[in-house]
């Protein structure tokens, strides 16, 4: 399965993440000074507001004092003057009246006397001068209805022996207005004694204070409030509050701070504190207050807390917006920048995808700068080049390996091709040999060939080692045998000569064990020489088995001067000589047991009655069963030669004859020979024999040339059956590709002029023309052609 790179979405990308980290850092960095700034700004604002409020309070109080100063000073002066007995009370009154006329806040004055001290006949005597509608009017106060002796403005100064400011009151009988009265006790010297005579009052209209209080502005809705000693609200811009007692207002629904502030005010202290405000609703507010001179009044300035910070909040709001917008712009910019920075990486990733999918020429993004991404890209480029080179190298080596393998196959074919295949022997001899290589190219060999008509040379050998070197050594040995073994040369001398040659140039110190024998086909005598090879077996009739345990010299390739002797063996009729290599005894099964000599001897004994081909193939079959599952470790070679009967004792002619041919053109000679032989024994006319020969040659060559795609050896079996005295049935069987000759169109080929004549199809044409019947069938993996020919 190919690995898929996950698609990088924007929110998982580096650009986004870097931007977020960057922004978080910036917000953190900016947040701290912002908080500190906010804190210190609010503290500064508070201090500034406190200062401002205090100053304003003091200024206002000073204004009050300015206004009230004459109101207090004038009576005190007059009262002092009155202590002098020479001063007339009427004179005092006149001065007081002038003062009223000129002063803005004082609208009335009264000189109230003790009983009978103002006039001898009057209990009450209190001349009162007051301004009304711009004119100064005088009236004498005091009656049973208006008993001023009980009033505060008279009672308190008398009692306390000091000037007193009264609480605000509405004077119904006197000034008919809301006012406060400053009463100063009057003393006269009567006979050296200082006697309380009465009081001199100054009535102050509160409406002018109201104007002053109303003119006090602080912040947006901040306002002033003037209260009396007992908490009565003298003046405020809030009409609801006038004439109310501040204690009543603040009694319900207000917090402790408010109570404290109000009490501080009423105690004549000055200060600055936070409170809940004086309105019905709670507005967290600040209160700055201070006493107004000796009046016992207190002036306060109230303003809502939020107004104090209003500007700051406004500023903060703007700041926040700007901050937000800046961060947003910063975010966008960072994303754009990081994207620009990571774009080459993204391109690199895309190129890497392509490389991963096998496109080694995928173009990498070009970076001219020398940053890390460029370095990474360059590193990738180097990697890509190396990968490309590596793949190229791999391709080359693979091709070479394939070439070597195919060459090995060719070598195998050459090696196998060198081994003789035609097992044609006189009828009283039966020969079969096989070589089953462990790897593609083996080190075993066998050979047999005629030295002359009566002498057959047989040989078997085993080169130590396997593979190409062993194979080459094997081929050299075999070639030397063919060159040196000539009729009349004793086998030991042949062997000596081969060994000498092999030792001449043997740099890799290879050696080969070898057995060779020359069999006199007439007598059944064999002269043999065993150069360190496995002992051959001899199978007699009646399950007798023995070995030719003779050593005639060292294996080839060890000493170039080694001597070889020869031994003799005489075949008894029916005996089979079996030559093997140690590939059989050394064959291993999956539990690593050897096949061994004992098992080989037992197997051969059991197979003694078979012909050589059957014996060989059955033995190999047994070996394969034994080692099934285990890898074949060594070449397996068997050569079997049987001396069937004494020469000349020919078997009676059979009505059925089978001919097995290999897929080689040279086998045609055998075919021709067999047909000639059959023509004699079955009385077939020469013309018929020739036609049969011709047809079989056509069919056989067709199979040899076209039926097989491989290079392997195949057999083609031809059965001849004499079904009648004058009818021959021929069956031809091959395991090649399916081919039905009856489907080939040939008739139109025949009548064409020379220029267009092709030879193809002529063979099939012969088959049809010359045979009496032709049948074709496919049986499993075999083509079977059945022919009949009458004669």
């Amino acid at each position: 399965m190919r690995f898929r790179f996950p698609r990088i979405t924007f929110f998982r990308g580096l650009a986004f993440r870097y931007s977020i980290f960057f922004l978080i850092a910036i917000v953190m960095i900016l947040f701290v000074p912002l908080v500190i700034g906010y804190g210190s700004a609010s503290v500064l604002l508070f201090i500034k507001a406190q200062k401002e409020a205090t100053i304003l309070t003091e200024q206002t109080v000073a204004r009050f004092k300015n206004v009230l100063q004459p109101t207090e000073l004038v009576p005190q002066t007059l009262v002092q003057a009155m202590e002098n007995p020479n001063i007339n009370a009427g004179e005092v009154l006149r001065i007081a009246r002038d003062f009223v006329r000129h002063d803005t806040v004082v609208f009335g004055t009264c000189l109230a006397f003790e009983p009978y001290l103002g006039g001898k006949d009057s209990y009450w005597y209190a001349p009162y001068a007051f301004e009304k509608h711009g004119r100064l009017t005088t009236r004498i106060l005091g009656s049973s209805d208006y008993d001023y002796f009980k009033m505060d403005w008279y009672r308190l100064p008398k009692l306390l022996n000091m000037p007193v400011w009264t609480e605000p009151y509405y004077d119904a009988g006197g000034g008919d207005t809301l006012m406060c009265t400053y009463s100063t006790p009057v003393y006269r010297n009567v006979g050296g004694k200082r006697i309380f005579t009465g009081v001199l009052t100054m009535d102050v209209s509160l409406s002018s204070f109201s104007r002053m209080v109303k003119s006090v502005n602080i912040f947006k809705t901040g306002y002033g409030v003037l209260i009396s000693r007992q908490g009565k609200i003298i003046a405020s811009p809030r009409p609801v509050m006038n004439n109310q007692n501040i204690l009543d207002i603040t009694r319900v629904g207000k917090g402790k701070l408010t109570q404290l502030a109000v009490r501080g005010m009423m105690a004549g202290k000055s200060g600055f504190s936070s409170m809940d405000g004086l309105e019905a609703k709670k507005f967290p507010s600040f209160l700055s207050y201070a006493p107004v001179g000796k009046t016992g009044w207190s002036f306060g300035i109230l303003f809502p807390e939020e107004e104090l910070y209003d500007d700051m909040y406004k500023f903060l709001k703007v700041m926040s917006w700007m901050f937000g917008i800046s961060i947003f712009i910063l975010l966008i910019t960072t994303i754009l920048i990081t994207r620009k920075m990571t774009r080459p990486i993204v391109r690199l990733v895309e190129a890497t995808h392509k490389i991963g999918q096998g496109d080694f020429n995928a173009k990498l993004p070009v970076r001219k700068s020398k940053d890390e991404v460029a370095q990474l890209t360059r590193a990738f480029g180097v990697m890509q080049d190396e990968l490309r080179n590596y793949i190229h190298h791999l391709e080359v080596t693979t091709t070479e390996k394939e070439k070597i393998e195919s060459e090995l196959k060719v070598a195998h074919n050459i090696q196998m091709g060198m081994l003789p295949r035609g097992f044609s022997t006189p009828d009283n001899w039966d020969l079969f040999a096989t070589l089953d290589p462990a790897k593609a190219v083996g080190g075993d060999l066998y050979d047999f060939f005629y030295l002359d008509a009566d002498h057959l040379c047989i040989a078997i050998g085993d080169v130590a080692g396997k593979g190409v070197p062993a194979s080459l050594f094997m081929m050299v040995t075999r070639t030397l045998l063919r060159a040196k073994a000539v009729a009349g040369t004793p086998i030991n001398l042949v062997m000596q000569s081969i060994n000498h040659e092999l030792c001449q140039d043997n740099p890799s110190q290879m050696f080969v064990t070898f057995f060779a024998g020359i069999v006199d086909l007439k007598t059944g005598e064999m002269e043999f020489c065993n150069a360190g090879h496995n002992y051959p077996y001899v199978l007699g009739s009646g399950e007798q088995i023995r070995q030719l345990k003779v050593r005639n010299g060292l294996p080839f390739g060890i000493y170039d001067t080694a001597d070889y002797t020869s031994s003799k063996f005489s075949f008894n009729p029916g005996e089979i000589l079996v030559l093997t290599t140690d590939g059989i005894t050394d064959a291993l099964n999956i539990t690593n047991d050897f096949f061994g000599e004992a098992k080989l001897a037992a197997s051969l004994t059991a197979l003694a009655s078979k012909n050589t081909r059957a014996l060989t193939e059955l033995l190999i079959g047994e070996l394969k069963r034994f080692s099934s599952g285990a890898e074949q470790a060594d070449d397996i070679t068997i050569l079997a030669l049987q001396y069937k009967t004494a020469a000349g004792a020919m078997p009676p002619p059979a009505q059925t004859v089978q001919l097995t041919l290999l897929n080689q053109v040279s086998e045609l000679d055998k075919l021709a020979a067999r047909i000639e032989e059959l023509s004699g024994t079955w009385n077939i006319p020469p013309k018929t024999g020739m036609e049969v020969n011709l047809v079989l040659e056509e069919l056989f060559t067709n199979v040899v040339f076209y039926a097989f795609d491989d290079q392997h050896e195949h057999t083609i079996i031809i059965d001849f059956v004499l079904t009648d005295v004058h009818q021959l049935l021929i069956r031809l069987e091959d395991d090649g590709k399916p081919f039905n000759l009856l489907e080939t169109k040939v008739d139109d080929v025949i009548d064409k002029p020379l220029e267009e004549r092709q030879i193809g199809g002529l063979g099939v044409h012969f088959v049809r023309k010359m045979m009496d019947s032709v049948e074709y069938r496919r049986d499993g993996d075999k083509n079977i052609v059945t022919l009949t020919k009458n004669f």
Binding site: V665, S666, L668, D669, A672, P686, K687, M690, N693, L694, E697, E698, T701, I750, D751, P753, L754, E755, R757, I759, L762, G763, H765, F766, K769, M770
Partner: protein, 110 residues
């Protein structure tokens, strides 16, 4: 199969003895090509001692005929045995080849 070659004034006579089949047709092929290469464009194949021919052999004779005809030469056969004649008949070659009963007859056409 054995091949002998007699050069006369008129032509080259190639005598075939024995079997001409898939195993040995190349010998004849080589011989004919050799003659063609030496500009011998008049060839008579003497078949009286040829006792077998397969399609491989016929192919070589056909090849020789085609090449020589292209070179405006002469390619003839003579002395075919009865069996061989029949094979020529079956293959339709009798109408293509210039076949003569004897060497003497054949030499007249060169």
């Amino acid at each position: 199969m054995e091949i002998n070659e007699i050069k006369t004034d008129q032509c080259v006579i190639i005598g075939i003895t024995g079997r001409l089949d898939t195993t040995n047709y190349s010998v004849l092929e080589k011989k004919i090509m050799e003659l063609i290469d030496n500009n011998s464009t008049k060839i008579l194949v003497e078949c009286s001692k040829m006792d077998y021919i397969s399609s491989s052999g016929l192919r070589i004779l056909l090849m020789g005929l085609k090449k020589i005809t292209l070179m405006k030469g002469k390619f003839a056969l003579c002395g075919l045995q009865e069996n061989i004649s029949e094979i020529f008949e079956i293959s339709g070659f009798t109408s293509i080849f210039d076949i003569h009963a004897s060497t003497e007859d054949a030499l007249k056409v060169f």
